[in-house]
Symmetry: C2
Subunit: 416 residues, 2 copies
């Protein structure tokens, strides 16, 4: 059990589906007001835009100009949270609790200026403490931030989770509650693996791997922040009673970690594109230049494979990126390849997916990788790329094989 220090604040985040209609907003307000009356005075609510709204705004701005500057893009897509904040505050007022809405600039949620993928630098909590002194529940806009020059930024899709955990850290909260449309984190996506079970307790490291490997429940940067500042995260369903099952993500004791399951979860990420650069000249520093250019355009590179062709003395470089970054990465690399010479080619391969097994117990159980290969081989699934860390093994496979692979790995490691 997590230990809730009684006088520590609590941050509760409600996602898009939780505030997807006026009725749902009112239900959330009722729950919060109830808890407030029962003594939870220092609570801050973080909300996302009503479900569908951010997509609507993205469609509008992309419809006007698919190449709009990210500055103008962020201004358009962050408007949904403003509405949700105001509606939640008004709903709390209806429940008889005073409530103030806060946008990023009003609270001082200061980020860097990497529009549409900004990172929070600082949050000024002065106004929240003042609210609590006056019995007011503050409702804070997730997803958005403001630069020091007062430009609107957004934290990337799903960034409201990050806003909530960052706010919890800034407030030194007891924990951050992520209220969503599922009961918690499962051992696999139940739509893919019907045998998937809810994980009641999960270490940050496992949660972080699962989030970054494609588990949709949590945004990986939110878990990263939680882990960095040891802020417990509770994932629970908005639509279930308060005593319903949930997932607690925190740092467990060393003893508990030793007893951790070898594999806690199986994840599936369909959002994988493999980029290949072939016939690269074997020049020192060239590979570093590639990844430096990619990083500077704000694209995350995942699995990297690097082959030197001994005869021709040329290099072949393969790596995976998210499908959303494909156009940008390809444009940039194509130009760069042309500068290097006509023999250098840049290609992109779609139709791939990444299936991973994650578990703290792997650290003390060698041989998990070979077990993964055996399981996939038995299912006739070809592995295109592979990547391992201390607590995960990821295989890039054909998208058509991905669900079969997930079920087989879940059966072998979790159901066994």
């Amino acid at each position: 059990m997590y230990h809730l220090v009684q006088d520590k604040p609590v941050v509760q985040k409600y996602g898009g589906t939780s505030v997807g209609s006026l009725e749902r907003i009112q239900n959330v307000a009722r729950r919060v007001a109830e808890q407030h009356k029962q003594g939870l005075k220092k609570v801050a609510i973080v909300v996302s835009a009503m479900s569908g709204e951010t997509n609507r705004l993205v469609d509008l701005v992309s419809g006007i100009n698919p190449h709009a500057s990210l500055r103008n893009y962020d201004m358009a897509v962050s408007a949904g949270e403003q509405v949700a904040v105001a509606l939640m505050a008004a709903a709390l007022e209806k429940e008889g609790v005073a409530s103030y809405g806060f946008l990023a600039y009003q609270l001082g949620i200061v980020t860097d200026s990497l529009h549409s993928k900004a990172r929070i630098r600082d949050i000024d909590c002065t106004k929240l403490y003042k609210c609590w002194e006056e019995g007011i529940i503050p409702v804070v806009a997730g997803f958005q931030g403001v630069t020091e020059d007062m430009e609107i930024t957004t934290l990337g899709r799903g960034g409201s989770d990050t806003s909530a955990v960052a706010l919890a850290v800034a407030l030194d909260a007891g924990f951050c509650e992520i209220n969503t449309d599922v009961d918690g984190v499962y051992t696999a996506d139940p739509r893919v693996v019907p045998q998937a079970k809810l994980v009641e307790e999960m270490d940050f490291e496992v949660a972080l791997e699962m989030a970054s490997l494609g588990s949709k429940v949590l945004h990986s940067r939110c878990v990263e922040l939680g882990a960095k500042y040891q802020m417990p995260i509770i994932v629970r369903s908005t639509f279930q009673p308060n005593d319903h099952q949930r997932t607690r993500i925190m740092s467990f004791q060393a003893q508990r970690r030793l007893e951790a399951p070898v594999v806690s979860g199986v994840t599936l990420d369909r959002n994988v594109v493999r980029m290949s650069l072939t016939h690269l000249p074997s020049k020192p520093g060239l590979i570093a230049t590639v990844f430096d250019k990619i990083a500077k355009s704000g694209v995350n590179v995942d699995i990297i494979v690097h082959n030197k062709h001994e005869e021709s003395d040329s290099v072949r470089l393969g790596f995976t990126i998210g499908a959303a970054d494909l156009v940008r990465t390809q444009d940039m690399l194509q130009r760069w390849c042309e500068e290097l010479g006509p023999q250098v080619k840049c290609t992109a391969e779609r139709g791939l997916a990444k299936v991973s097994v994650v578990g703290l117990g792997m650290q003390s159980h060698p041989g998990v990788a070979s077990q993964v290969f055996t399981v996939l081989e038995k299912e006739g699934v070809a592995i295109h790329m592979i990547s391992t860390s201390e607590i995960k093994i990821s295989s890039v496979v054909a998208e058509a094989d991905a669900e079969k692979a997930s079920r087989a790995l879940h059966a072998a490691f979790i159901e066994e």
Copy 2:
């Protein structure tokens, strides 16, 4: 003709219907970019929310809580401008012009803290000058402001016109262009009076009376600001070519004023409620208290009729307010009447409208009032209340008579 000082900035405002779809936004952007290429470098664009959007937001917040605090209400309803600003800036970028969007807090459009009816105190134009130095067209959110404590305010419905003129004043602009869905200001509402004609030149005083008397084309506070700071306002249609007819509102020379028509326009306001307070005790200062209370709740009182009943020594007070203020005014007055004693009654009468004739020439043509009475009597229209100033005569009549009265007055004074 107005005199455009060539190096003075220009403010162009585009209303809800002008930005009502992505296609219309792109059309506006094309016009602005064209003018920019032809040398109009110092131009600032003010936009309203896309048509229907503010109503949608009002419905949402009223649906959640019809008694939401105005602070939360303003946060909800001002979100539409943010989207329109971002889309317009993105559309200008598509036309090959750099463009920055600005919300109220980003520019420093500082208002008082009278939420939903705020008044602009100051606008910091530093960022706009910086934009122009760099060839960037600034797009500014209308309707919204920010208090010194960084709370969002709104200027009242139609407030984007006011934002535009205030910005023109702050910039010392050559003029402020209001681009809307009509060609300009007409001698009457053409839907009511088919003979109505466009007025090409209009003095501020006449425009102000017409706006405050119900002509929907301009927001009266916008004309008030224009008059106060002598900022010429041009009303034109977004959907017509640049050389199409329009209305120029400014201060004309004394000679021109002398030649002004007796009546420039006939207005019709259906939005009238008569409040009556009866059996008020005849105490000094009591009437002042009533209007002080009403003013403090942010309600504008229009025509006032005050009768002292000599026999009973009691006072009967009648006055008109806008229909939107009815609930608030009635709630407040009801409570106050109860304090004064059981005989004091407060009643509201709906189903009324106000028909007015407005014209600078009235100043030098006595007898207009008696002509108004004659015209209305001949039509069989009963006058419930009347109010006159140097340049207008307003009659409160039954709503059912209002259109007939408008046509008769227009025929008598303008078509004759």
